[in-house]
Subunit: 356 residues, 4 copies
Amino acid sequence: MDNGKLPVAILGATGAVGQRFIQLLEDHPWFEVRELFASERSAGKPYREAANWVLDGGPPSRVGELVVQLLGGAVSSPLVFSALPKEAAVELEPKLAAQGKIVCTNASAYRMTPDVPLLLAEVNGDHVALLDRQRATRGWSTGALIANSNCTAMPVVMTLAPLRQFGVKRVHVVSQQAISGAGYPGVPSMDMIDNVIPYVSGDEEKLETETLKMLGTFDGEQITPLDTRIGASCTRVPVLDGHLVHVSVELEERPTHAQIREAWACFRGSPEVASLPSSPALPVVYLEQHDRPQPRRDRMIGAGMATAVGRLRDCPLLGYKYFALSHNTIRGAAGSSIQNAELLARRGYIDSFRPN
Amino acid sequence: MDNGKLPVAILGATGAVGQRFIQLLEDHPWFEVRELFASERSAGKPYREAANWVLDGGPPSRVGELVVQLLGGAVSSPLVFSALPKEAAVELEPKLAAQGKIVCTNASAYRMTPDVPLLLAEVNGDHVALLDRQRATRGWSTGALIANSNCTAMPVVMTLAPLRQFGVKRVHVVSQQAISGAGYPGVPSMDMIDNVIPYVSGDEEKLETETLKMLGTFDGEQITPLDTRIGASCTRVPVLDGHLVHVSVELEERPTHAQIREAWACFRGSPEVASLPSSPALPVVYLEQHDRPQPRRDRMIGAGMATAVGRLRDCPLLGYKYFALSHNTIRGAAGSSIQNAELLARRGYIDSFRPN
Amino acid sequence: MDNGKLPVAILGATGAVGQRFIQLLEDHPWFEVRELFASERSAGKPYREAANWVLDGGPPSRVGELVVQLLGGAVSSPLVFSALPKEAAVELEPKLAAQGKIVCTNASAYRMTPDVPLLLAEVNGDHVALLDRQRATRGWSTGALIANSNCTAMPVVMTLAPLRQFGVKRVHVVSQQAISGAGYPGVPSMDMIDNVIPYVSGDEEKLETETLKMLGTFDGEQITPLDTRIGASCTRVPVLDGHLVHVSVELEERPTHAQIREAWACFRGSPEVASLPSSPALPVVYLEQHDRPQPRRDRMIGAGMATAVGRLRDCPLLGYKYFALSHNTIRGAAGSSIQNAELLARRGYIDSFRPN
Amino acid sequence: MDNGKLPVAILGATGAVGQRFIQLLEDHPWFEVRELFASERSAGKPYREAANWVLDGGPPSRVGELVVQLLGGAVSSPLVFSALPKEAAVELEPKLAAQGKIVCTNASAYRMTPDVPLLLAEVNGDHVALLDRQRATRGWSTGALIANSNCTAMPVVMTLAPLRQFGVKRVHVVSQQAISGAGYPGVPSMDMIDNVIPYVSGDEEKLETETLKMLGTFDGEQITPLDTRIGASCTRVPVLDGHLVHVSVELEERPTHAQIREAWACFRGSPEVASLPSSPALPVVYLEQHDRPQPRRDRMIGAGMATAVGRLRDCPLLGYKYFALSHNTIRGAAGSSIQNAELLARRGYIDSFRPN
């Protein structure tokens, strides 16, 4: 480890989220991809050959030369990013954590497990301390399992968090989700050209549960979900990246639009979180134009780690409404996972690694 | 008028809605396009040359040979379909009605005018009697001005109408609208490829007002709008035809899903309306699949005159929610206009014309 | 067989081409779908449940109730349309022909087999007589195996056939192919939004060989392919249906543009072929506009059975060039198969069936 | 000019190419945007308000505050980038050059004018010396007018230039062009969803002439165009950025594929050109994969300044064929203009400015 960077393993390295991990970790100041794991089809081949790279350009050349290993084999890196499908994650992730690995997962398998932090660093960075309890309960010394949220819940949580001060009573969400949320090959083009699919398997349920856990409070023992009623309807649209959500929200107080926008503008997360390499300068950015945020034009705001908001208006039914947008495979997946690992590193949860 | 069909004039014949009128009136059993009116750019040319036909295929050959006349010139047909932009409609439409023409308009100019019926035949066919008052007040003997609704309000109204029996209290709408709603050239492709625009100029306001007028009651004197609170957010998606709306609705009663679906399935409009040539056999069609209605696959249901509904579920906030879809340039524009004219013909409002 | 229609079986009934067969055979004057065959996943279920209908609307209601049978099981219909993948076709199709079935196949397995007619009825309807030889050689009495061409070769062949009189020397093709050519799920949407794929597996080779066989001559014994040099490059574009090809062609003679257009306009196939229910009135239609043919606007010309041509110009390199377009799943697949079966019926190849 | 950068004016600053100039010049090491010119509609407003920014994100904040000036007004910057439409360019560009400005234009107005260099720096950087003749003939001391090529000719020229050594005899091009080539609003979305337009106004002619001028030789007096026959057919596809071309080429010699790829790999332009800030490390990059180059995935290669090539194969008709791709608004427009200005600066054509 000549360059002082922490070795990192990626599980499910050849899939769409695995690729995003590799792309985002190129030139990361603290972490370096050293191991790639995937299924039999890919194992034994150089990554360059094994992966059908679906992002722009090609894989970073150094990583392209790494030989893919078979999932389930020994992992030597202390930090593991998982882009596994749920079924594979269920078994493998806790096993690696039990072996002492820090496992940051995108899979949905353990998001709602009580002792697993479901982390969106600016929003509930304090939930990370749940790991102490996780380790105590499970008898893990250096290992840990930490999840990040469903990509559609993300822009909802990010924009509601600053409004908690006004009392969030009821939330109504309609999403327009990008195809990359379904991975590769994912959504057939015959379903998406000149079309919208008013259904995304599982996302409505996830949005209605994960949102409340992330916005919940941690009392040192457990997380109490936010006591809010939330309803969600999800659709898939012919957009590559960037989940757009329409949010109507009822608040206990009656803040002005200016106060709400002030709450968004001031939102930062803790100073510790704000200083992490992957944290955007402004987590929530309000766009003044009358027709924003737009997926293609605004998804890369804050290098894909910020959430864009626009069109805050009165909702005749619930009080307030707005549109929010986040990059679903950066902020909504790999990027948040990496940011979570950075927070763990900063907090000293990664054994014998202290970032400078 | 050898074939016994009523001569029809189309105003704004070269635009996207004008073309749809021409397409739908080909082989109409009662009406025949005889006059085409457009702006200076087109006047004097055969329609085939004047129009940049943007629908599939080309214009019907007979109409292609008609010479386009200048807007504002004398109209000889007793029935006029207007696809004019609002500005042109304001002046010309009442003028033609005063000259004794039946003017069925798609323009928004007079939709909310108290003595102009805003007609969706199955829903408020009885509002047509407002024409008696219109004629009395304005001193028109054979002329009339009748409007059809905004294309986005259409699927909302069509699916709420059968629910009036349960008491419609509050309605929350988020739309995903097709590009053809903006006409031609309309939405630039640079705004629509890999993108969604969370804004459609004017449609939220129209949806919030026109819906209530259409669902209102006519007491022989005037229309009292439905007393319901409605909020709408409109977006534009990369879809050619077919406006998809997500509707959350609060009802006074608590019908079961089965009762609601029964209400939709039984909905017909009056027998008189149901027998019109353009009326679909089933105005509201519930789709059982978990991922329908979809714009491309379901917009032509009932020859583009029916409304497809799907995914009826409980809404944790307002009680019920579902998706609905209508073809925006057929049911939401030209097709409804033609159906309205058919109703007027059947009711005897078109002087000396009795359809068989 | 009360209605006098010939019972038809469809192999691979749940796939995209299978669905197109079912759609096109609804209300066919001679044939009626009675049996549906598919893989284990679908067998035993009503078609309505077994098939994920990807075309517009839904399956015809009568066919929706048919129970899907397992591929390989006994077929009782005398006429079989095959939408099987190549691997499944190789074994099953000749087996059914040997059992006495008329097998009209879309699969590529036997297209280049010497005694299998590769039929495009207007172009080489006379090749159907090759079936006599096929039956003699293989010892089949009532069975037959007949293929239709690759969907990309189709518009090339259809527009070159009328030019054979001028001597076709060299042909250069660049295609822009619709996604439905790859079936369902087929092309991932992540490959097609905001993108073009300059590669279609196998199509360049097929185009370079099948074209020459179809344009070849049959001397009563065998087919001699056209002696022409042809080169093809194929691309996939974000279009649902309709393969567009750019053709540059060198001719031995130097006809004028008017002569070429005359050749296209007069092209009919034999009177026998022209009278078949699925034959378009005009097989090749020249579009005068400067920017046609366009896939979305022109693919349904002649109910999807005609080929649209446009932009005939001089090519500085080969002499002539133009664009041509055909509907790839109608004329380029199921529609041609049905037309072929019609020709066989008319010619008396379908035992004891004489169409009226 | 505290920071030592050369002040730059942009003509047509609010259009799509104007925006690309502004985006690419942010943080340019030598040049700094100081003046923005546009039509009456925009003049007098801060750029942020005047421009409907159609690229991703928004305009750089410093430029956003600049007040747009009326086209035709006095220009004080010595270097002028023109993104004007042809009609406006005809008059204004030579006028500014006569006033002593260095005018680098994207307009087509003067591309084929004998004393105007049509520059693609790596290909014909030596043509820049034509400016001496231009100045002498026109009596310009410090002014100059220099053009860059049509965006579709660009990938053709860039990939043919390294093949000049083998003798380029005949060239056949079919393009698939991005919508941004038509500017904003440009191509209506109703023409592009589920469609291809087999026509791009003017581009075939430009490709057939400009290509030969760029590949021509300069003898100190004049440019002699390459003596090659070239034919082009252009289409528009639903792609945002990146023009894909299929090129078939006949060469005098018969190099192996390896020799051709070697010629591309070694291609650099002069060392002087290669050292310019905007020059890509590798101007022509061959992609090994069987399905590349693809517009969305490969257009940003070399920061949008390189040309991607793939699928080199034998062409049965002309000998060789391949696909090439360039970013049409970077390499094909603003980026090349900026690179040209850099070359002029390096060569001392920009009075009293010496880049470090």
